[in-house]
Symmetry: C2
Subunit: 338 residues, 2 copies
């Protein structure tokens, strides 16, 4: 049997953001319809080297019919040796035969589908007239969040980028962002301003949408900065102990999870639930229920809405299957006899 | 970064049984020395199609320094479509950097290391003058068991092959076995007789070593057939409810596991422990403890010894690493930029 092998260069050729965004919407909707399986997360800390690996696996039924897994490795010590700290592989299998379909670099797929996830939820939950976005975090993932947000939210006129630990990076990121959007995604920011956040409290206070993508382990965004009607897509917190928002923001917010159990265990919801600020029963539901029309999203113009994303293998699998099909159609990537 | 992609044909070129056997011994010894990690098994039944998938993962420290996982799919319905029912992929990562090293067909690696496991334990636990072997099961795995046993136990003069469900297959398998050993492993059986078992009770009654490799869910080998001093390597039972031996055989036997917890959960030990025939504390230990000299194997010529193997990702990882290194040295297989 034959499988596709796709490296990052191949994936950049065959994946496009609008397609990935549509796939992510479909994965969430299938989850809400009970047409997916999320299998137990396996994680390991290599304590002597400060490294982490995790294995996320699951299945997408419906028309897609794939299952598989993603192993991600985060070895921060690699930087000192000039090696990428973050790497991984995604394997996709045909759920009708169990046969492997393809194997690919997981880092790029993860970035693409994570950008799509933050944006899809913002489009579903933010106010319709939202025109200002703050992205907290100016690392690798921030560009994908901005690109996906501008793709699904054409009304955005101003984007603030914030790096609370490195204001030089914040300015450099904002200055280069327009060119990078064009180079990496063929995306024209047009007359949308992309600015360094400067004073974060002010940027947040002017924003309709805030996307958080830092590895923070303490709240960064404070309750009192936030104006009524703001939407948050919380992407960074995906392991025990991580948080980016003041837990008080959860007290009166309408909150959706990508996977409720997983968010309460390791997401932005973990600490507010442990602290009793919000109870499990007060979480409105999962984002797929909004996308499929089973639950209303925002119910009030002044409501705070929060989407907590911890990452689901489903998104990788559906994106990986798109990449395999597109690569086969366009003759991209290696084909191996297995 | 670059990874090796190895299909079955590549693996047949680069793996040889003596090397795999040595790797399996090393993996078991490293496990006994606490130099390995076995991560939680993830399994799923696709109930509507009678199919199963499992993900086994772990790490081998010591000099080897690899981690990774294997996904195996068993889709019996494939046979009707002329597709292989059993397939899977193995991924190996460098544990010093987290970077992927290679991806390969898991079915052949599994067959090779499973053959090696049964034989390594037989060599460690059987009587030194063992000359007769029965292999219960005449499917795909039986050939690997016989090949590995003949490699590590040159004193074997007679091999009985048993297929209790299909005596025609039993005869055909035995008749073709010598040629298949030569063709697949370059192994000359010489004057060792390879015979159909015929009446299983008689074959077992003449045997010093019995290796079981069927998917049976009820005992096949009865206590009263077995003569003193027989060794059993139990390979087939690796999921809840599977068993091949009369539980009574465990009552006075010296028993070793590949991984004690996993064997009690899903191995040949599962049902005897549940039935109270043997208690967890009566299991002598793990095979790695014998191979590393920490525990004696057989302590009496007339003792029944039993090795219960459920399969460890460690064996696949160490075998996979051998394959990647040999393929790189010999220019076999594809190399992909990831």
């Amino acid at each position: 049997m034959q499988i596709k092998i796709l490296g990052r260069g191949d994936l950049e050729q065959v994946l496009d953001l609008p397609g990935v965004i549509e796939g992510v919407r479909e994965a969430y909707r299938l989850k809400a319809a009970g047409e997916t399986a999320v299998w137990p997360l396996v994680a390991h800390h290599f304590e002597d080297r400060g490294a982490v690996m995790d294995i996320r696996s699951g299945a997408v039924m419906g028309r897609t019919q794939v299952h598989g897994l993603k192993m991600l490795n985060n070895f921060p010590g690699n930087r000192a040796q000039g090696l990428p700290p973050f790497s991984g592989m995604l394997m996709v299998f045909d759920s009708q035969t169990g046969l492997p379909l393809g194997v690919m670099d997981a880092a790029y797929v993860t970035c693409m589908r994570t950008g799509a996830a933050g944006a899809v939820a913002a489009a579903a939950l933010a106010r319709e007239d939202a025109d200002t976005l703050t992205v907290l975090g100016a690392g690798k993932q921030a560009l994908f969040q901005i690109a996906a947000a501008l793709t699904v939210l054409p009304g955005i006129r101003r984007v603030y980028v914030a790096d609370q630990l490195d204001k030089d990076n914040e300015r450099a990121f904002a200055a280069a962002c327009r060119d990078r959007l064009r180079g990496s995604f063929g995306l024209e920011a047009g007359d949308t301003a992309i600015l360094p956040a400067g004073e974060l409290s002010e940027a947040v206070g002017q924003s309709d949408i805030v996307i958080t993508v830092t590895p923070s382990r303490a709240p960064v965004i404070r309750r009192e900065w936030v104006r009524p009607g703001t939407h948050f897509s919380c992407i960074g917190a995906d392991m025990e102990g991580k948080e980016e928002l003041d837990p008080e923001l959860f007290r009166s917010a309408r909150v959706f999870a990508d996977d409720l159990d997983q968010c309460i265990r390791v997401g932005e919801l973990e600490l507010p639930v442990k602290q009793g600020v919000i109870a499990r029963e007060q979480v409105a539901g999962e984002i797929g229920q909004v996308l499929s029309g089973a639950l209303p999203g925002r119910t009030d113009r002044d409501q705070i809405t929060i989407f907590d994303a911890t990452g689901l293998a489903l998104l990788d699998l559906i994106t990986g299957k798109q990449a395999i099909d597109a690569a086969a159609a366009r003759g991209v990537g290696l084909t191996a006899d297995i």
